[in-house]
């Protein structure tokens, strides 16, 4: 759904290099060394992140992060690296944790050049990943920007030693907020957490516009196919499904939405899409994209009913949403081009799956657009500051609406957009009965 609420793929050694060399790369001879691109990519992202910049200046004025130990556990790529640098610029001691399969070496190098402690090794073993995670927790972060609640959960179990110094956690992803709420309900949670994910400036943008554009584009980039005239089945019409359907329709696709929720289905109908059952929809599908956030939403049984050559991609929660093991046996064939594997149904169709069922936009592309992550990461920074300021009780808290509004306003201001304020009479009218 977003940059960080899903596992990154671990592409086999044989498959992934082709992405860069065979198809995507363009000027091998003229490329500078990796570290140069790291800085360049980081700065290019940074200049399209006005909300993060504004949040940084707001937090700097408060001075609350100065001298704090802050842990940042996010996919290590140019956008999140900007958050790490912003926090470091506030006088905090920043430690960054990156996962083995999503870390970009050139970004690590660029961060280390700035003196930021980075715990990440691209392609390392699970054991080494755990060592790195423990070393990251050893820095005893007081404030933690967590990814899927992976670190805060470890600090409630094997690493309770680091819990005492932890002031609070900002969790941005759906998949991280869910376990935190379970912990809260079971009285197992021992630290205040902010559910950044639930902020309007996150949900309404990241999940709709960010994922919509990037999932559709990553499918087209991976396949080199046209969208015009394609029958696209969008499974699930939540925020992500809405965005995917809109982007595919914008490019000329014919959309069918499938849903289990009657209200969402009715919204899709009002938005002008065909709404039908999945089992029948897949029979004429050129592209099927799941956006349910729920495992087993699309199965081998559906694949067997698809036309030969159909494309399957996941745009929601990632691995599991498409379950190739439920239903008739599928033969997992070759990777026919980078990020495209053929799935063969014996005596049935050959279908192609994008990024082996990992989220298409982060696995077969660069993830959400920079400007969308600008909002999400600005919220993240403001959430860390809020945790440092507010002395919140243990529990899962929403970000105050005024912070939400301030982040949205900062991106509007950067775009030179001015909006109205209610007149006194409007205010009166709104408050009268």
């Amino acid at each position: 759904m977003t940059e960080r609420n899903q596992p990154e793929p671990s592409p086999s050694e044989a498959d992934q290099p082709e992405l860069n060399q065979a198809e995507s790369n363009q000027t091998e001879a003229s490329q500078p060394a990796p570290v140069d691109f790291g800085r360049g990519m980081l700065d290019f992202a940074g200049r399209h992140m006005p909300a993060l910049r504004a949040a940084t200046e707001y937090v700097r004025a408060g001075g609350r992060l100065k001298g704090r130990r802050v842990g940042v556990a996010l996919t290590l790529e140019p956008k999140t690296a900007n958050l790490a640098e912003a926090i470091a610029s506030l006088g905090a001691e920043v430690a960054v944790l990156g996962s083995s399969n999503s870390t970009r070496d050139e970004v690590v190098a660029a961060l280390r050049e700035q003196g930021i402690a980075v715990f990440a090794e691209a392609g390392c073993s699970p054991e080494r990943s755990l060592e790195l995670q423990n070393a990251f927790i050893d820095t005893k972060p007081e404030l933690l920007a967590d990814d899927g609640a992976g670190n805060v959960r470890l600090m409630h179990t094997d690493r309770r030693d680091a819990l005492a110094t932890l002031i609070g956690v900002a969790e941005e992803t759906t998949s991280g907020v869910r376990p935190l709420r379970v912990m809260e309900a079971e009285a197992a949670l021992e630290v205040p957490c902010v559910a950044v994910n639930d902020a309007r400036t996150k949900l309404l943008f990241d999940n709709v516009y960010g994922t919509g554009q990037s999932v559709v584009m990553s499918i087209l980039d991976a396949t080199n196919l046209q969208m015009q005239g394609k029958h696209v089945v969008v499974v699930g019409y939540g925020k992500v499904g809405r965005g995917i359907a809109a982007a595919a329709r914008a490019l000329g696709g014919r959309i069918t939405v499938t849903e289990i929720d009657p209200v969402e289905a009715l919204v899709a109908h009002h938005d002008g899409y065909d709404v039908a059952q999945l089992a029948t929809s897949v029979m004429t599908a050129d592209i099927v994209i799941t956006a349910t956030g729920i495992d087993h939403s699309l199965t081998a049984a559906h694949v067997a009913a698809m036309p030969d050559g159909a494309i399957v991609a996941v745009g929601g929660a990632g691995l599991g949403e498409f379950d190739p093991d439920e239903g008739p046996e599928l033969i997992h064939g070759d990777v026919v081009r980078p990020n495209v594997r053929e799935l063969i149904v014996p005596d049935g169709p050959t279908v192609f799956v994008i990024a082996d069922g990992y989220c298409a936009n982060t696995s077969a592309g660069e993830g959400n657009p920079i400007e969308v992550m600008d909002l999400s990461l600005a919220l993240q920074l403001r959430a860390l500051d809020y945790l440092a300021e507010a002395d919140l009780p243990v529990g899962v808290h929403l970000l105050p609406p005024e912070i939400d509004d301030a982040v949205a306003a900062s991106q509007l201001a950067a775009a030179g957009i001015e909006i109205d304020v209610p007149s006194p009479s409007q205010r009166d009218a709104a408050q009268s009965w």
């Binding site: 360049g40 700065d43 584009m217 080199n224 046209q226 914008a250 070759d334 026919v336 657009p369």
Partner: protein
């Protein structure tokens, strides 16, 4: 999870080339890296899968032997779809030699795969202009009888540098608006001694390729190169021909606010009526996030416009020429030039930093995978049948239209491949003039059997 035993790439490499043809191709070709052939075969096979018209309808048309033994030069952006066209021509018995129509657009793996299929190739990705020109001359020296050209790049070089071989040419089928204009100019100058086909002007080419193909792939390439968002962007499209229309449409539909810049008042009015803003370039540049040139000419964005560029503007070109954005002039005036992401070069001039994508070469091809495959299926079907038409028809020298019946046949084949049926006009649905003239009264119109 059983792994399929056989490599599909091995099957797809099966061609009709003899060992001798293959060894000759290896000997004579200039490519970057023969070891990349495997992924090239895969890419060509992927193109084949989504090219039903070329793979069935066109193959059948070419099987009459008209191209058997003919020397055909294919000088089009040398990537997987073009390579598939080359193999279809070779499978029909032609002796094909291929080169790229631009120094930046060749895919080295595809070039390697073609050589393994016995097709001579002269092209490497990112070659210098001198190397690229030399490649074209090597193709000319193969003494082609027919050219499938892009931008008339080989045709005009043969006219200039290989006049004798140029005289021997039997026909040229031309891919682009720019190239057709060049051929027409050659004809006007009395320097077009052979028949040519304006493949670009076929409905199945420009209505789809130039508009939808370039539109989608340009938006895709710009977003992939920059990782930016389209919604809310102010996009300036310079040139509102078929390409400009397509680019403007997709930017708009993805949420951008588009300003069109035109020199032609009718096209400008069309852009306005399509709902875009229209203005002169200098005004438009003042608030541009992306500037996309699509004029098909040169120096659409040049030194006199640079002062109007604002901080952070990102420039990309989708027209035929690499210098539609005048990067040499920008380079000359810039104090600092850095490639900051792959395919994104920052130019700092008078303290203002702007960006050029893919060095100003066609952004969708040099910075992306080019047009969608299904679109090129149509374009290359026109090209292959254009070449076949030239080889099987006695035509006067000059620029000829692509036969409309072939145009319709291609569209029908494409519709059929999608299982789409269309309506037939009934005998009683036509309104003939004689019927009106002979009608006794208004009421009796159309009532005659």
């Amino acid at each position: 999870m059983t792994k399929k035993a056989t490599s599909s790439a091995a099957n797809m490499a099966s061609s009709k080339a003899t060992d001798e043809q293959i060894s000759q191709a290896r000997e004579r070709s200039r490519i970057a890296d023969p070891s990349q052939a495997e992924s090239g075969h895969q890419a060509i096979e992927w193109a084949r899968r989504s090219s039903p018209v070329l793979d069935t309808f066109v193959r059948a048309k070419l099987s009459d032997g008209a191209l058997t033994g003919r020397r055909v030069a294919v000088v089009v952006h040398l990537e997987a779809k073009t390579a598939f066209l080359a193999t279809v021509l070779a499978d029909a018995g032609a002796t094909v030699v291929a080169a790229g129509s631009n120094p930046w657009s060749t895919r080295d793996n595809v070039a390697a795969a073609l050589v393994e299929r016995g097709i001579e190739v002269h092209s490497t990705r990112g070659s210098t202009n001198e190397m690229w020109e030399a490649d074209l001359i090597r193709v000319a020296d193969c003494d082609p009888e027919f050219i499938i050209d892009d931008g008339a790049e080989l045709t005009i070089r043969m006219a200039r540098d290989r006049p004798e071989a140029y005289q021997r040419l039997l026909g040229v089928s031309e891919e682009t608006t720019t190239g057709v204009a060049r051929l027409t100019e050659l004809q006007r100058l009395g320097r077009l001694p052979m028949p040519t086909v304006a493949a670009n002007d076929a409905a199945c080419k420009h209505l789809f390729d130039n508009r939808y193909g370039t539109g989608q792939s340009t938006v895709q390439a710009i977003l992939a190169l920059t990782n930016l968002r389209m919604s809310g962007k102010r996009v300036v499209v310079v040139g509102y021909g078929w390409v400009g229309r397509g680019v403007a449409t997709y930017c708009h539909q993805l949420g951008a606010r588009v300003t069109a810049v035109e020199v032609d008042p009718i096209r400008a009015l069309e852009a306005y009526t399509d709902g875009h803003q229209v203005s002169d370039l200098e005004t438009a540049l003042g608030s541009a996030d992306f500037v996309i040139t699509a004029t098909g000419g040169i120096r659409a964005l040049t030194a006199r416009h640079f002062d109007a560029l604002t901080e952070g503007t990102i420039m990309a070109n989708v027209g035929h020429h690499d210098h539609e954005i005048d990067t040499p002039a920008l380079r000359a005036e810039s104090s600092e030039i850095t490639e900051i992401r792959p395919g994104v070069t920052a130019y700092t001039r008078n303290g203002i930093t702007t960006y050029v994508l893919a060095e100003g070469a066609l952004v969708n091809i040099a910075g992306g995978l080019g047009h969608p495959t299904e679109i090129m299926d149509l374009s290359f079907s026109v090209q292959a049948l254009g070449c076949h038409y030239l080889a099987s028809t006695d035509l006067e020298p000059g620029v000829h239209a692509f036969p409309p019946e072939l145009d319709r046949a291609i569209a029908s084949a494409k519709l059929a491949s999608r299982g789409i049926t269309i309506e037939k006009l009934g005998d009683d649905q036509s309104d003939t003039l004689s019927e009106i003239l002979d009608a006794d009264t208004f009421e009796s119109w159309g009532t005659k059997p």
